[in-house]
Symmetry: C2
Subunit: 329 residues, 2 copies
């Protein structure tokens, strides 16, 4: 460490600050120290440091399904922000199984992470809540209504974009709108409430319908198939999630339905397929990079003992040709 | 720990084996111990255990771009396999920047991970090679030709699927085939070699062309745009990667070209858009879950001191309507 300080021409305390990821370090100082570290091949033993300081400089991220594009983008963005601040990320993937949430929270606690960012698959699971209660590190929760005092939240304002989407469909004459949703989680409740509010505000009778299941490609396909097989299929379908959108599109396509002409369709999350589908798919979009970055920033503020508040990030409707006037029957 | 052993009705040594992720534990034993652990809320201090054992039960995964669907699926699969064996995963994301590879390898070493799985963005970068040389833990490399003695590799057999793809295009009468590739990495070299070999074996003059850049959506769009603007555009385009495919499709679509009629197109990796595009996109597919699982299995074998060999997983061509006979001009 002394050699590093000499080579970089800085004090040993400065080397220590850079290597511990202290926030109060100038960019010039950081690059000089890291260059000297690289040249000397100096490898501080972070594990021994951790024990001395009672910090591991590690944040746990318990994610629902990393192979879901939405989560992958959130994790990528959070990892960048955390790493820049000197933290590493321990990732657990619950494979979209709520049963694994509690096990992963306990695992991360055993790993003595300094904080946990999480997105659970069931907001009321007693096992999950018990595991959360036992934590003594800061927790940032992603877009869930988990009754955990002290946790800080990054919410998406799903209502905003969904209200724009439903208003667009109502303006096009649709009254028989079906919404496919996953399990009862905050995003599903918010999207549902937005749809109901739009009808109510216009004094329209509640001629919408909901199909609730799980946030999966398989359920999206099954739900869309069921809706289309009914005696009076809806004139518009809203898929409340990108996996539900993918499943629904498979079925709509297999039935040879032209979106925007035979039936209207709105998806959630602006994944590559929405722009490249023919016709392009109207979606309620959110900024996944901002979600990951905000979650990481909140965690860093909590670790620094700064006062923090919940963050709510906007969503917005992107109108595309998958929505059109009600088809003549 | 004594309480856990009593409640589970097993010896304390068995509890220790289960909690340390020892491979020689029956499923029944594991579930009894974990149930007792959950009921008692017992949290072994893994950090103190690590120092005693000189193991951290942590594997580092240095990935190129976690927001790329391909890597996200590989990571998800590896995490499941590692976690089942008692290991946690430290994830670093180099944001597709080769400059960050060496920094991440050093970071993971400082974190005293028990092993590293990695996919680098530049196989010859001296800084990366120096960082790898200094490692004293097992290394599993994903689909790269990195000159590192002792590392074990999980390769994709890109040639197999690409030869099938090129043969299909040649059978359809295409002779002017353009291949868009990312930077010089093993997958790009293998795909290129497959194309060249197909022409040579049929005794055809080398009337193909290559466009090399980076594995990004932006480069895919630029390369496709350049190809289409040439005086004699190719009659078929192969995009060597899923990001390159997405970029190319944006341009092909914007130009109003009907795939399989106006121009033929082959992508790589069977991401959702390939099946849902109109017409569906022919791709060279690989099993991402098998790649992640194999990498994790190799790492576990290395940690157990078992003899291991490189693994090569197949790729296969999936013919779809994006390929058709050469368009009449």
């Amino acid at each position: 460490m002394r050699e590093v300080a000499q080579l970089a021409g800085v004090a040993m305390s400065s080397v220590s600050r850079v290597l511990s990821g202290h926030p109060d370090v100038s960019v010039g100082m950081q690059s000089r120290v890291l260059a000297a570290v690289a040249e000397l091949g100096y490898q501080p033993d972070l594990l021994a440091q951790s024990l001395r300081r009672q910090e591991t400089m590690t944040i746990g991220f318990a994610v629902g399904d990393i192979s879901n594009q939405l989560f992958a983008e959130i994790v990528a963005s959070a990892e960048t922000t955390l790493r820049t601040a000197g933290y590493s990320m321990l990732l657990t993937n619950s494979e979209a199984s709520a049963e694994l949430d509690a096990a992963h929270i306990r695992l991360l606690a055993q790993r003595r992470v300094d904080g946990i960012i999480l997105s659970v698959g069931d907001e009321q699971n007693p096992d999950t809540l018990a595991a959360l209660e036992r934590l003594d590190v800061p927790v940032v929760i992603l877009d869930r209504d988990v009754p955990m005092p002290g946790a800080v939240n990054v919410f998406s304002d799903h209502r905003r974009g969904m209200r724009q989407a439903v208003a667009h469909l109502l303006d096009l004459g649709h009254r028989d709108i079906a919404m496919i949703n996953g399990q009862t989680l905050r995003p599903a409740r918010e999207r549902r409430a937005a749809l109901e509010a739009c009808y109510e505000e216009r004094g329209l009778p509640p001629t919408y319908r909901f199909v609730d299941g799980t946030f999966s490609v398989e359920f999206g396909a099954r739900a869309a198939g069921d809706l289309l097989s009914q005696e009076h299929p809806p004139t518009a379908i809203i898929a409340g999630g990108n996996q539900l959108m993918l499943g629904s599109l498979k079925v709509l396509r297999a039935r040879g339905l032209r979106l925007g002409r035979d039936i209207s369709f709105v998806g959630c999350d602006d994944i590559p397929v929405s722009e490249l589908y023919d016709p392009p798919i109207a979606v309620v979009r959110r900024d996944t990079a901002a979600m990951g970055h905000s979650a990481a920033e909140l965690m860093l503020a909590l670790l620094a003992g700064e006062p923090v508040e919940d963050v709510t990030l906007p969503s917005e409707f992107v109108a595309r040709a998958s929505c059109g006037p009600v088809a003549k029957t």
